[in-house]
């Protein structure tokens, strides 16, 4: 095991008919890391995910994962990965345990060892007492846990999760991430997640920002943030448009407005803050200076906000 990479993607392209979803994407994923595909919906992250989990074929370029070439050794590769999709792939009419047993069979496990493995995982994820319940009756958070247990049955080395926090409340979301971090630490599983949520992106060890089918930026969250200069100043006001005009005419500061919120980036945020507070303390409701976020990184690299829906036709 000379190198520590787990996934190598080189010049991957993918299109649906005329619509290009991925145009020459290359990156690699370290073994034992939590890696994020981050970007707006339509940016190409789901396509990339579907190629990596073998739902879509490799059209052009090469993908090597866990030492398998995806275009040639698909079946072998599938035995070594665990996949969860946005919609839980559980059969909601079966019980929790039945779901796990069927899944085990699909992966060639059976008998006592499968039983033991299922029980262990259900206990580990705190759903052992639910094993006889029909999946339909579980909450979203519990379903996610069952789903995680289900896709870990065959001890995959690589775990792929598409928008794992879809439909989860903040508590369940936190729990999910604790699980993922524990998995990586305890079983040295490599985890790949796709997300369009910044707080999730922040928890990844490394990530790629995908926009319109290409990688706009890549690296660890902190390196990405440090890569852009200055701080962001946010002002909230009851009369944002008037304030914005005054800020331009009196201080020469160009803010951009969205709703009641004005934002700008400055190399010296604290000076800007002082100036504004001195002159306009009556007009503002709140003002803050923040270190740049990944959202700012995305803005800087693509000129768009992450939450803007991109439709590529």
């Amino acid at each position: 095991m000379s190198e520590m990479s787990c996934v190598l993607v080189d010049q991957l392209e993918h299109s649906y008919g005329d619509r290009v979803a991925l145009c020459g994407v290359s990156f690699k994923i370290q073994r034992g890391s939590i890696f994020g595909f981050v970007g707006p919906n339509g940016g190409g992250k789901t396509t990339l995910f579907n190629v990596l989990c073998t739902l879509l074929p490799v059209q052009s370029g090469t993908v090597e994962s866990l030492g398998f070439r995806l275009d040639r050794e698909c079946t072998e590769y599938r035995r070594n990965i665990g996949v969860t999709f946005q919609a839980p792939s559980l059969d909601r009419r079966l019980t929790v345990r039945e779901n796990l047993i069927h899944q085990g069979h699909l992966y060639g496990l059976r008998g006592k060892s499968l039983d033991r493995q299922a029980t262990q995982l259900l206990e580990r994820f705190g759903v052992a007492d639910r094993s006889a319940n029909i999946v339909e009756t579980l909450s979203g958070g519990l379903k996610r846990r069952v789903e995680l247990a289900k896709c870990l049955l065959h001890r995959p080395r690589l775990l792929l999760l598409d928008e794992p926090s879809t439909g989860l409340d903040p508590g369940a979301r936190r729990e999910l991430w604790q699980c993922l971090e524990e998995l990586r630490a305890r079983d040295s599983v490599t985890v790949v997640v796709t997300t369009h949520l910044m707080e999730e992106a922040e928890r990844c060890d490394e990530l790629i920002l995908l926009d319109q089918g290409s990688i706009a930026a890549e690296g660890t969250p902190s390196v990405l943030r440090e890569g852009i200069s200055g701080e962001s100043v946010t002002v909230v006001s009851e009369r944002p448009e008037e304030l914005r005009a005054q800020l331009v005419s009196e201080l020469g500061l160009e803010f951009s407005r969205s709703g009641e919120t004005l934002t700008m980036r400055s190399s010296d945020g604290h000076k800007v803050l002082r100036d504004i507070v001195e002159r306009f303390s009556a007009e503002i409701r709140s003002i803050s200076v923040d270190k740049p976020t990944l959202e700012d990184v995305f803005m800087e690299k693509t000129g768009r906000r992450m939450s803007d829906e991109v439709t590529v036709d």
Binding site: S2, E3, S5, C6, V7, L8, H14, Y16, G17, R19, R31, N41, G42, T46, T47, N50, T54, L55, L56, P57, E64, S65, L66, G67, F68, T75, R78, R79, N80, I81, V83, F85, Q86, A87, S89, L90, D91, R92, R93, L94, E98, I101, H102, Q103, H105, L106, Y107, G108, L109, R110, I134, H154, R157, E163, T166, G167, H196, L197, S307, E309
Partner: protein, 308 residues
């Protein structure tokens, strides 16, 4: 080939390929799901039973027994094998269309990324449908036979030995399997169950109506040809022959207006093989090239809505 990414340790992953286990587990799942939905069970059995009783009573007067039938055959008796085929059709096909539901619920995606081959996936789904359909059909045949024995339905001259009973069972399996496969071929590409219902009423019900299940041919030449070209005709005729296999020479081949038993088996095998091949072919194709943008964007946009 030296690979830069390291393969998993063999000592860690001990997963043996067992294709039959995949087939078995998918088949079991179909049956479990079916038994949990009482309404499906009742719908697939009670409705045809009601059809049989009501149509049988209503059309009794206008029915003219075909040439091959023993004198005094009631319409209900004529209709009996037809209803068994209707039950096979309903159950087998409703079982296959659950593949649409599987896709929507995400279960199918889970199977598609598992090491189970496409042919095992199809086989499991069809085996489940076949088992359910045959089970229901036999239940109906038993109930119908019982009703006529106890005088609750007109008497029937059914005559079948134990050995031919096994033959009947196998033949029912064959027909049910073909119908499941046909349902699978139709359902795989469809996005909604609604679309399937349209096909059901335009293609499947007429197919049953002109199979000799509901009325014998002999009305017009065109109709006779339609009946002759319909693969289901041979399913109905086969069941008919087997039910009377031990009386009035039904197995001898020369019964006017009914195709011979070997023809029935031959056509049914061919039909089943074609449908099965079509189903496997389709499952493989779509897994290789699935990517209709509409299907992709739906979950994406849904999740976007939720996050707002």
């Amino acid at each position: 080939m030296s690979s830069p990414t390291s393969r998993p340790d063999d000592s860690v992953t001990v997963v043996v390929p067992r294709p039959w286990l995949g087939v078995w587990t998918l088949c079991r799942r179909e049956i479990t799901r079916f038994l949990r939905q009482r309404s499906r069970f009742i719908g697939a059995l009670a409705q045809p039973l009601l059809f049989w009783v009501l149509f049988g009573a209503g059309l009794h007067g206008s029915f003219q027994a075909p040439e091959w039938a023993p004198s005094g055959m009631s319409y209900q008796e004529y209709f009996f094998p037809g209803i068994a085929i209707l039950i096979l059709m309903f159950t087998a096909i409703f079982s296959s269309i659950s593949v649409i539901e599987d896709r929507h619920e995400g279960f199918l995606q889970g199977v598609l990324v598992s090491p189970v081959s496409k042919s095992a996936l199809v086989m499991g789904k069809l085996a489940g449908g076949t088992a359910l359909a045959v089970g229901q059909a036999i239940l109906f045949l038993g109930v119908g036979f019982g009703l006529s024995r106890f005088g609750l339905a007109p008497g029937m001259n059914l005559d079948i030995s134990f050995l031919n009973g096994i033959g009947l069972f196998l033949f029912l399996c064959l027909v049910a399997f073909s119908l499941s496969a046909m349902g699978f071929v139709i359902a795989w590409r469809l996005d909604s169950v609604q679309g399937f219902h349209a096909i059901m009423s335009v293609v499947l019900m007429p197919m049953w109506l002109v199979s000799g299940a509901f009325f014998p041919g002999g009305g017009s030449t065109v109709l006779d040809w339609v009946i002759r070209l319909n693969p289901l005709t041979y399913g109905v005729a086969g069941v008919r022959r087997l039910l009377y296999s031990d009386s009035f020479g039904m197995m001898d081949g020369e019964v006017a207006g009914l195709p011979g038993m070997s023809v029935c088996v031959g056509v049914s095998v061919l039909f089943g093989a074609v449908c099965f091949a079509g189903a496997v072919h389709q499952a493989r194709q779509v897994s290789r090239a699935k990517g209709s943008s509409s299907r992709q964007s739906t979950p994406d946009s849904k999740s976007a809505e939720r996050s707002r």
